[in-house]
Symmetry: D2
Subunit: 157 residues, 4 copies
Amino acid sequence: MRRQKHYFETEPTAPPPVSVTCVRRIRFSDVDALGIVWHGRYPSLFEEAQTELGHRCGLTYEAYRKAGIAAPVAQLHVDYFLPLRLDDICSVTASLTWSEGARLNTEYSIRNGDGKIACTGFTVQLFIALDTGEPLFCSPELWENCRERWRAGEFHD
Amino acid sequence: MRRQKHYFETEPTAPPPVSVTCVRRIRFSDVDALGIVWHGRYPSLFEEAQTELGHRCGLTYEAYRKAGIAAPVAQLHVDYFLPLRLDDICSVTASLTWSEGARLNTEYSIRNGDGKIACTGFTVQLFIALDTGEPLFCSPELWENCRERWRAGEFHD
Amino acid sequence: MRRQKHYFETEPTAPPPVSVTCVRRIRFSDVDALGIVWHGRYPSLFEEAQTELGHRCGLTYEAYRKAGIAAPVAQLHVDYFLPLRLDDICSVTASLTWSEGARLNTEYSIRNGDGKIACTGFTVQLFIALDTGEPLFCSPELWENCRERWRAGEFHD
Amino acid sequence: MRRQKHYFETEPTAPPPVSVTCVRRIRFSDVDALGIVWHGRYPSLFEEAQTELGHRCGLTYEAYRKAGIAAPVAQLHVDYFLPLRLDDICSVTASLTWSEGARLNTEYSIRNGDGKIACTGFTVQLFIALDTGEPLFCSPELWENCRERWRAGEFHD
């Protein structure tokens, strides 16, 4: 039922995902009575990598605000495989996968201190107009521009 | 892709779900720069109802500890439909659905201040032995007892 | 060094504090590896009672926004006496104490499951203009009105 | 009433404080409806630097656990001067100040994206026995050893 990768299918001709990895120590306030990270904290861990990913691709809250849009999360999914323990130096990877639609499909994975996959997951974000809150069914210019630069290879070293 | 209910299928002969609803105000610290609850906080909202559900059914952390087991979350899923706003009085429902297996399947829904479904989701919990961390493939006695009382109608008024 | 009460001094002629108490269970996600509430979570517990206190007195975020002001916290202090444990039914009290100045002085106390004082603390909030961010050295009308109703006995049963 | 530094007084002959600074971006989930970090999140920011400070000095949760002790926070204080905004790259400094007593006195300061002091604060931690929960009025060996290494200059480059 749980799978370790590839929540989103992409065309073979699509540009490869843009990935960013953050490394950080699991702190005392991160863990629960069992000494492991509580399942509800994983979205925060995901966000650490996703924030840097957004800055890489120009998909920041500031850019959204200037464009008069927002990109709320419509779906979140997490599969947990191994616990993350206090003082573990874990690495969190967020990968934006190519989509032709008006949506951001992001996959996540977290490796524990031993380098093993502790968790995978994904979020789907849709676009809305900031003033009305109405959903945008066509890709906003911001997202069009991002895909152009992506296809041009700007986000990969 | 997102559906509003019934993440888990149950036999027609299975006892109905056990549900608990908590009502609470959305506070200042719950909301983000858009004045709505950040998607990563929903697992905490789910937990508020699930905690009371656990106390109703005898599935508490204290009971787990005494039984030498734990019930970590193996899967989390959230579908977001409408935002939750500052000062909304929302209601969070957690429903344990019947399962013959060694797992806890819980569905969640949150209604916003207008009584509309703002979000649905689910968690799957598996059992592990507390000393070894090894998964338990057979239902622990605690879960067997819970199901007996459930089938006897003890959890419904 | 730590004292259990009365962080703010008031004139004998000042109206008595306005207090609101919230009761809630300590949940699994509230506690740390020692099975007790992590010190950094207490401001959230304080906020639960303070939110209801604000609604009692008309000092809500919505009222601030309409008045073009905000009331950021300038000082926070917490003295910890006893731990709060998982499943404790604790009660959190927030008390707004009288002040003639352009500031909100709020005292807090939390009682554990045995009814003993587990913690006390205070916050000081100052007023700023929402558009410029500049501090307001005179009491805004909202706060004047609140004090009038307070002196008239409206906030006490 | 609020001061920017030196919450703890030390003898002129005491070794200088041991300080660690962490730099990190303010993320979307860190900020509130005003687009700034909510006051109750500062203890988490403090903890990020304090965790690294603990690893520098051998004062980790793991070391406490092996020594059969814990070091709960008995007092927390925060003075807020300037807001921390979304996307600010802030730096958080934790400084352990010398103490002859059975207590850890830690001062904190946070600089905003412009390098200005946004906040200062302190925590006091006392020691307890892990099995009984009783306070330790004499310094545990762990803390004695830490002070020896500190006096020998081991924690400063």
